[in-house]
């Protein structure tokens, strides 16, 4: 018998966690002499108060959906992919290659090309640690995190020595050509008569992210390979008995994971910056871990968690601009949410479970 109803598991527990994080954040703000209620108003206004605010929130959320999916698909095979950041950075290289070196006639084709190349670049970057895990037993957590640092250095090298246009000091590629510019929400929603802020970065990649969610759902719960991934994740011994090859599952799940992480670049590199710069992923690879954890590795949960973190990211930025709250304090607030929804999940879960058990006993 389940310890508590499903709605409590997927809604009540995250809600309590967020509330606790909010309370502690408020206390921290109070201690530094700021007004927490005012801060809350600024955050809401800055993140969801206008179409421009939504444009930023959903832009960040798109990044987090991709990296959240990356962590989730690997986790279904109990592979803990900490390397989403590096894989996303490599995906950026894929996008840059697609956009700079191939003359696309139209943005739709450019988008398809960028999806494929970013996916391949990210997948290759994840496949190396996966191979080391499957064949050599090198722990995936260690190797993927080390590959993040290799990715930083590799991109540094590429931008400084290879991809930087001549005569420019900044380590970045040239801007992508007009044909590789993606329509943003202003362009898309304008088609159906909705007036959306022009200068917000949310773009068509958001819908690609939603399609990726659908893809993950179908893959994990409707295909043979997804079934084998879940088998392996739930019980390696049972998967061995069933004739599922551990090597194959580790490789496939990690390649898919790297692919999702790499595809994030169609949002931030292609859709927003329209060129590749240093550190393009800006930590989204790590936030993906929290998003997957909070979203219970399910696409719907991941979308909701990604929007929450998009809200925190955008609201936090506004907080530091408007309320003169230092950026570090904003990081503290974001970290508290990650801490409560992720690491301290059990702290909230067990008392709630006990309450439900007690209620059930009273009924019986």
């Amino acid at each position: 018998m389940e310890k508590m109803p499903k709605w409590a598991d997927v809604i009540l527990i995250p809600a309590i966690s967020i509330l606790l994080a909010a309370i502690i954040s408020g206390l921290v703000l109070l201690a530094t002499g700021k007004d927490p209620l005012n801060a809350l108003v600024i955050m809401f206004d800055g993140a969801v108060g206008s179409s421009r605010a939504w444009g930023y929130t959903l832009y960040y959320a798109t990044n987090f959906i991709f990296t959240g999916l990356a962590v989730a698909v690997a986790f279904h095979a109990r592979m803990f992919n900490i390397g989403g950041e590096g894989q996303a950075l490599l995906g950026g290289v894929g996008v840059a290659v697609a956009c700079l070196y191939i003359p696309w006639p139209h943005w739709t084709l450019a988008l398809l090309g960028a999806i494929v190349l970013s996916g391949i670049f990210g997948a290759v970057w994840a496949a190396i640690p996966a191979f080391l895990q499957a064949k050599r037993g090198s722990h995936i957590v260690i190797t993927t995190i080390m590959f993040n640092f290799i990715a930083y250095s590799l991109i540094n090298h590429l931008l400084v020595n290879v991809m930087k246009p001549a005569g420019v000091m900044e380590p970045a590629t040239a801007s992508f050509p007009e044909a590789a510019h993606l329509p943003n929400f202003h362009d898309i929603l304008g088609l159906v008569g909705i007036d959306f802020a022009m200068d917000a970065p949310a773009n068509i990649a958001f819908f690609v992210a939603l399609l990726a969610c659908l893809f993950l759902w179908a893959l994990i719960w409707r295909t043979r390979i997804g079934y084998q991934i879940r088998q392996f994740g739930e019980s390696e011994s049972a998967a061995r008995y069933a004739g599922v090859s551990p090597t194959k599952i580790i490789m496939i799940s990690m390649i898919l994971s790297g692919m999702f992480a790499g595809m994030m670049s169609i949002n931030n590199v292609m859709g927003e910056a329209e060129r590749l710069v240093l550190n393009s992923a800006e930590g989204a690879g790590f936030i993906g871990i929290a998003v997957a954890l909070m979203g219970r590795n399910h696409p719907v949960g991941i979308v909701l968690a990604a929007i929450l973190f998009g809200f925190l990211y955008q609201g936090g930025t506004q907080l530091s601009i408007q309320a003169q709250i230092p950026k570090e304090m904003v990081v503290v607030i974001q970290s508290l949410v990650i801490l409560f929804t992720g690491a301290l999940d059990h702290m909230v879960r067990s008392p709630v479970e006990r309450i439900f058990l007690a209620l059930r006993r009273k009924e019986a």
Binding site: M1, T223, R224, S237, A242, G243
Partner: protein, 510 residues
């Protein structure tokens, strides 16, 4: 009469619904080596863990040297003079012998005086008991036998008068085991009390003074080793439950289905688990493999099931099976007509967090009738198949959406058996088909196995339940130490004879 060194009265301990120890009474006299024997899972280790303060007994009393003693944790056990040597050593690998011995028993904040004192005492102990170990050697650089001595020295350094050894020879070579026994005899001569937990009859006969036999959480009896025989102990260990009669006609063996020649398995530590095993099974017969758990039966099933590499030859229906290459996987085995009810349904046969219908596809996810098209599986078809299987095998409750962990043991096993038998395999591998299964389900599962035999299929049955082997098998092979000790006809053999073979004593010698 002398006071027992240890006396346990009415010890009971349950883990959830499992009664690991039930009203156990035992007296261990000082200056003796007392064996506790029983099969895996009989409750020996639980009993000793209670004595050492790892578990708290639900009921019962512990007397040490006649005094009632409470042992809430291992510190109290050590203070009461009890030392324990675990099956899996608890040593710090990159510390020296001396550091390991002192660890947790330091005299003060400074380490050097403790080490100096320990070094002197170690020399004394080495002289007294013949326990020679280099005190400055690093643990990971010395052999397993030496590591075990360090564990014994640790206990003696803490002034243990009563030493408990849990399956001490499991990791030792025969020569190392002999050395250990000489040490235990020295300990006994010096007045220490030794409790030896094992499932190996040979060790009991060789070294103990008295022996207590456990079976399924209860104490079956105590005997003086000199007044018993391996056969009697084997019978006590395995037990003679109410014989479950299986209604079956004489076998009509047909062509040879399975031929195994010189099958050997070496595990990752280099220990040979299967040694040149050869056997054949014909259509329409059940070959039962009897033996105490851990004598190579599991490896035999794993090799045939396709998830353990091996050397040798396996021929199915006249064609060789790939044992190490690309086609040595479980999927190929299934397509060749081998089905497998694994020994451990909770870790292999089922995925506890999966629903019943997801478990019905376990191993058969490539079955064409479970596919909707080239891309997607037909989950509805699997659910429907599950519903039908549940009806035919009377699985209760018949709910395909229920998770495997929510079914009782018997119903879990019925799901596994239904999945495998309904594949109508040429060869069915069955491991412990009725372990933890209620009487009704046992009868049902036995009937299904016999029905498959009568349909002209070959069945390899592995079970530690002698009754099950006796009543189901058409031929019985006994395994001991990775070898087949011999084959017997169930009509013309006795539990005693099989028990001797299971203990590694071949029929000719006894």
């Amino acid at each position: 009469m002398t006071t027992p060194a240890i006396e346990l009265k009415g010890i009971s301990k349950a883990f959830g619904p499992v009664q690991a120890n039930k009203d156990i009474n035992i007296r261990v006299m000082p200056g003796t080596i007392h064996g506790i024997i029983g099969e895996n899972g009989a409750g020996k280790s639980t009993l000793m863990s209670i004595l050492y303060g790892f578990y708290k007994a639900d009921a019962g009393e512990i007397f040490i040297n006649g005094n009632k003693t409470e042992i809430p944790d291992s510190q109290h056990a050590i203070a009461a003079g009890i030392g324990m040597v675990f099956q899996h050593f608890k040593l710090v690998e990159n510390f020296t012998v001396l550091e390991n011995i002192v660890l947790g028993a330091e005299d003060g904040p400074m380490l050097t005086p403790s080490l100096r004192k320990a070094r002197a005492q170690l020399k004394q102990l080495a002289d007294d008991y013949g326990l020679n170990v280099d005190p400055d050697a690093i643990i990971e650089n010395i052999g397993v036998g030496q590591q075990q001595r360090v564990e014994i020295l640790k206990a003696l350094y803490r002034k243990a008068e009563i030493l408990i050894l849990d399956e001490p020879t499991g990791v030792l070579t025969p020569a190392e085991a002999d050395q250990l026994f000489r040490i235990l005899e020295r300990l006994k001569d010096e007045g220490k009390t030794v409790i030896l937990i094992t499932h190996k009859l040979r060790e009991i006969m060789e070294i103990t003074d008295e022996v207590s036999v456990m079976r399924r959480g209860t104490m079956v009896g105590h005997v003086a080793t000199a007044k018993t025989s391996p056969a009697e102990l084997a019978e006590m260990m395995v037990g003679r439950k109410v014989l479950l009669e299986v209604d079956k006609a004489p076998a009509k063996p047909g062509r040879t289905i399975l031929e195994v020649k010189n099958l050997s398995v070496t595990d990752q530590w280099g220990v040979k688990r299967l040694k040149e095993v050869s056997l054949t099974i014909r259509a329409g017969e059940i070959l039962g493999i009897a033996g105490v758990a851990g004598n190579g039966q599991s490896e035999l099933l794993e090799v045939l099931g396709g998830y353990q590499k091996a050397t040798g030859e396996v021929i199915l229906n006249g064609e060789a099976i790939d044992l190490t290459g690309l086609h040595s996987d479980g999927q190929t085995r299934r397509s060749r007509g081998i089905a497998h009810v694994p020994e451990d349904r909770q870790s292999e046969g089922l995925i506890m967090n999966f629903t019943a219908w997801e478990n019905v596809a376990l191993g058969y996810h490539n079955d064409p009738k479970y596919q909707k098209n080239a891309l997607f599986m037909d989950n509805a078809a699997i659910r429907k198949d599950t519903e039908e299987k549940m009806a035919r095998f009377d699985v209760r409750p018949p709910l395909p959406e229920l998770r495997a962990k929510s079914f009782s043991g018997g119903n879990q096993q019925k799901i596994v058996v239904a999945r495998e038998i309904e594949r109508n395999p040429d060869l069915l591998l069955v491991g412990q088909p009725t372990r933890g299964v209620d009487i009704g389900a046992i009868e049902f599962i036995h009937k299904q196995i016999v029905a498959l035999r009568d349909a002209g299929k070959a069945i390899l049955l592995v079970s530690v339940e002698l009754d099950e082997i006796m009543s189901l098998s058409d031929r019985i092979a006994v395994m001991f130490d990775g070898r087949i000790m011999g084959e017997r006809d169930p009509e013309n053999t006795t539990v005693q004879e099989l028990g001797l073979l299971m203990a590694g004593i071949s029929g000719e010698a006894a």
